[in-house]
Amino acid sequence: MVEVHLWSGLRSLTGGQQVVEVEAKTTGELLRALVRAHPQLQAPIDAGVSIAIDGRVIASGLTEPIPEGSEIYLMQRLRGG
């Protein structure tokens, strides 16, 4: 199991939870597992999210491995100029 930290604005979609535990070995599995656990998270995921694994921001890749015990943060997809 990995703990996924959400940004606090998402608590309204997860019944108040800011940390969600899911079973996932890759970034793609993690996003699917989040939606299974909390279907309302589909909207922010569709709007664009990145996943920080131990501080390294994975902008969009769905195949990045998630090591056991790693720190996982869901972030809004970054934009730039």
Partner: protein
């Protein structure tokens, strides 16, 4: 992307060779957006709304169509309508609505119709023959007024999932993040300062206006030449807006005369293609400067509330920010980015940040270097400066005391990997600028700044020639010298001279997809792709050498541009230089090339610290920047001169944003200053020599350690200059720009 082959010793990387596009640019040979024509070409012109908000009751184009020189007229009806194909929703729909108004004109300058005629003059004249009946609606251009309960609604239903119920429909996205308990933190503080700050919209101010040449036949096949930061996104968007297949539209990026985030979308390109499809002739459109100001992306304007608590020893005990960003008549203002970046330089136990994306009757905002970050830094770093002043603390020492470092929990959530903020602050403290005496009437300001940086989808192809030279095809338009840095990185891997590598920005028909040149991603992502493509070619070179020696490929290694036998049983053979292998490649298996197609994931975040001296004339309110030093972490500077140029460019643009540049709207909602005479960007005589210090704390996510450098440099200037001006004037400046009238008013209010 795991990197197990990090390189720290370099031959070519870190040198400063001549730029490959230099001769073309100084001799006028380089082709920019407007430097193209085609046989039978028509000239397009766009009719724009004079109203900030108006329902379009009727458009009568018959008189224009009857004009002898006019070959086509288009309105919204000539573009693909929903739902014509999957995908034209969300941002595509917003772009279509911005490119050509639908039911309503949403801002002064919004396109409502366009013509193509046999000359540019005839096209402009024909616009006067188009009759538009408007029903003028109430408008709002100010961010705080746009959020007020009585504000006119720009578009119902534009808000996404994130906006809590009960908010005004003009609030279209909401972001909230942070950690700890800010109230408990404020209770621990010896001093708490709470204040509000405002910044106006500014334009990226690129010297080259938008320009394009579009050709689209009724068979759905087209060609587009345009000045852009990303021709694949232009291809994808134009195809969607015109209802044609993406692959049937070939887009070529011209040389680009500046972009800074403003050329990351399309404006005139789909219009030129729609006119061309109707006229069956090529159509060229070149924006006037006034059109650039009125209808292309300025930054967001911002209104912000900051509260920070500090202990007597300088420790920040809690920080809280509310950031309201106005992004024009469409969703997209980066309130979330402002919120996430604002406190990112600091190691905070208690932090809370809220960002709003607010619509108003202004042009659709576009990125301007690090979108959203400079405004937040202005507000936060001003309050930190005021706390330092009131507590009698050194502003660099306080920032060092609170600085984020490897292992710090970032204000936006994750734990930082190796970062270089502390190194930039230590360099600032040691720099002679920081200890130089100030003259009477001068003030010194410092500020830190943060930006995420980005990777993005990237394709690169490298082909070796028989004579041992190499051609490298990249897909990210060269907005900051990337052809030089790509050639240096390829040279480093191949072991051949920089001059033997020609880098071309490939068109959309000759390379796989590439994201826009944005997010400071090019040297990082196209650079990583170039390194991987070159290594791919080196593998093949080693295979050819191995075959010629009759030994296994894994018994050959590549060193200093040569294949050499390696390992105990490899045998004893003379090294084979690259050109020796390529000379025979036709007879030994065919062409040797290398490729990379993926999304590099590992763009390291970046920090900078700026030191500014300013002098304020109390009689006129005019500010002179007398000294400026930029210190920023580049990870590894591939071509240091270009890195320094990025640093200086960020500072120069920041000086304009801080002191003079602003969108001025009249009560009628019309932009009052849409030419450079009235919108004052800095000129050379406004700027001091901008000193630079390149800090290099390698990014663990890049083979050579590169961090993007293009955007972070715009983050600290607003705050650093505001702090310097506030000290010089003896009054805290809370509104940008700090133009002479505002400074005089502040001096007067201060007695």
């Amino acid at each position: 992307m795991a990197l197990d082959d990090r390189k720290t010793q370099f031959t070519f990387v870190g040198t400063r060779p001549d730029r490959p596009d230099g001769l073309d640019k100084v001799t006028g040979r380089a082709k920019f957006g407007a430097d193209i024509s085609a046989p039978g070409m028509l000239h397009g012109a766009i009719l724009r709304s004079p109203h900030a908000h108006a329902r379009i009751v009727k458009i009568d184009t018959s008189k224009a169509e009857a004009h002898k020189d006019v070959k086509a007229v288009v309105t919204r009806a000539d573009f693909a309508e929903l739902p014509f194909q999957p995908g034209l929703e969300g941002e595509f729909w917003n772009v279509l609505e911005n490119v050509m108004a639908g039911e309503k004109a949403l801002y002064d300058g919004h396109a409502v119709a366009a013509v193509a005629a046999t000359s540019a003059l005839a096209a402009r004249d024909a616009l006067k023959l188009i009759e538009v009946e408007y029903e003028v609606l109430p408008h709002v251009t100010d961010v705080d007024k746009a959020m007020a309960p009585d504000a006119p609604v720009i578009r119902e239903g534009a808000a996404d999932y994130s906006v809590p119920e009960g908010m005004h429909p003009n609030i279209v996205r909401y972001h909230e993040s942070g950690h700890g308990d800010v109230e408990a933190g404020f209770a621990e503080a010896d001093l708490v300062i709470e204040d509000s700050f405002v910044t106006e919209a500014t334009h990226q101010g690129y010297i080259e206006p938008h320009a394009c040449l579009g050709m689209l036949g009724n068979d759905g096949k087209g060609e587009l030449w345009c000045t852009t930061q990303g021709h694949w996104i232009a291809q994808k968007t134009c195809a969607a807006l015109l209802g044609i297949e993406t692959s049937q539209l070939r887009v070529t990026a011209s040389e680009i005369g500046g972009g800074f985030g403003g050329k990351t979308t399309v404006f005139i390109e789909p219009v030129a293609l729609a006119l061309s499809r109707k006229a069956n002739r090529p159509v060229k459109i070149v924006m006037t400067r006034s059109e650039v100001f009125r209808a292309t992306g300025p930054t967001s304007s911002a209104s912000m509330d900051i509260k920070i608590g500090m202990k007597k020893d300088g420790t920040i005990s809690a920080a809280q920010g509310v950031f309201r960003l106005q992004g024009g008549a469409f969703p997209g203002a980066p309130g979330d980015m402002t919120a996430m970046c604002a406190f990112a330089p600091y190691n905070l136990t208690n932090v809370s940040q809220i960002g709003y994306d607010v619509m108003a009757n202004r042009p659709k905002q576009a990125a301007y270097r690090a979108p959203g970050a400079p405004m937040g830094a202005f507000a936060v770093e001003s309050v930190i400066d005021e706390l330092c002043k009131k507590l009698g603390l050194d502003p660099v020492d306080v920032r060092l005391k609170n600085a984020a470092h490897e292992g710090t929990k970032a204000s936006y959530g994750p734990t930082y990997e190796r970062i270089g903020l502390v190194e930039t602050l230590e360099a600032a403290k040691a720099h002679p600028h920081y200890s130089a005496p100030l003259k009477p009437g001068q003030g010194r300001g410092i500020s830190c700044g943060f930006w995420f940086n980005h990777g993005g989808e990237t394709s690169v192809s490298l082909a070796l020639s028989e004579d041992g030279s190499a051609q490298l095809m990249v897909g990210t338009p060269d907005i900051g010298g990337s052809r030089a840095s790509m050639a240096l990185m390829a040279a480093e891997v191949l072991g051949i001279p920089y001059e033997n590598i020609r880098v071309t920005i490939a068109d959309t028909a000759t390379l796989g997809y590439n994201d826009v040149s944005h997010g400071s991603r090019v040297t990082y992502a196209s650079g990583l792709a170039t390194i991987k493509a070159a290594k791919h070619a080196v593998e093949k070179l080693c295979e050819r050498a191995a075959a010629s020696w009759g030994i296994p490929a894994d018994a050959v290694k590549w060193e200093n541009g040569c294949a050499i036998p390696s390992g105990p049983n490899a045998g004893d053979f003379d090294p084979r230089p690259l050109a020796d292998i390529t000379a025979h490649m036709g007879q030994t298996g065919g062409p040797i090339s290398g490729h990379f197609e993926a999304t590099p994931e590992g763009a390291g975040v970046s920090f900078g610290t700026h030191i500014v001296d300013a002098e304020v004339d109390p009689e006129t309110g005019k500010t002179a920047i007398t000294r400026y030093t930029v210190i920023q972490d580049a990870g590894k500077a591939i071509h240091p001169t270009y890195v320094e140029g990025q640093y200086q460019g960020g500072a120069a643009q920041g000086i304009g944003w801080a002191l003079n540049e602003e969108y001025v709207y009249g009560d009628d909602g019309r932009l009052q200053n849409s030419i450079f005479l009235d919108y004052r960007i800095p000129v050379a005589s406004d700027l001091p020599m901008i000193d630079t210090v390149i800090v290099e704390v390698p990014n663990p996510g890049h083979p050579f350690g590169v961090r993007g450098v293009g955007e972070t440099g715009i983050v600290p200037p607003l705050a650093a200059i505001a702090n310097a001006v506030s000290h010089a004037a003896g009054v805290r400046m809370k509104q940008l720009p700090m133009s002479p009238p505002r400074i005089l008013a502040a001096l007067k209010d201060n007695g």
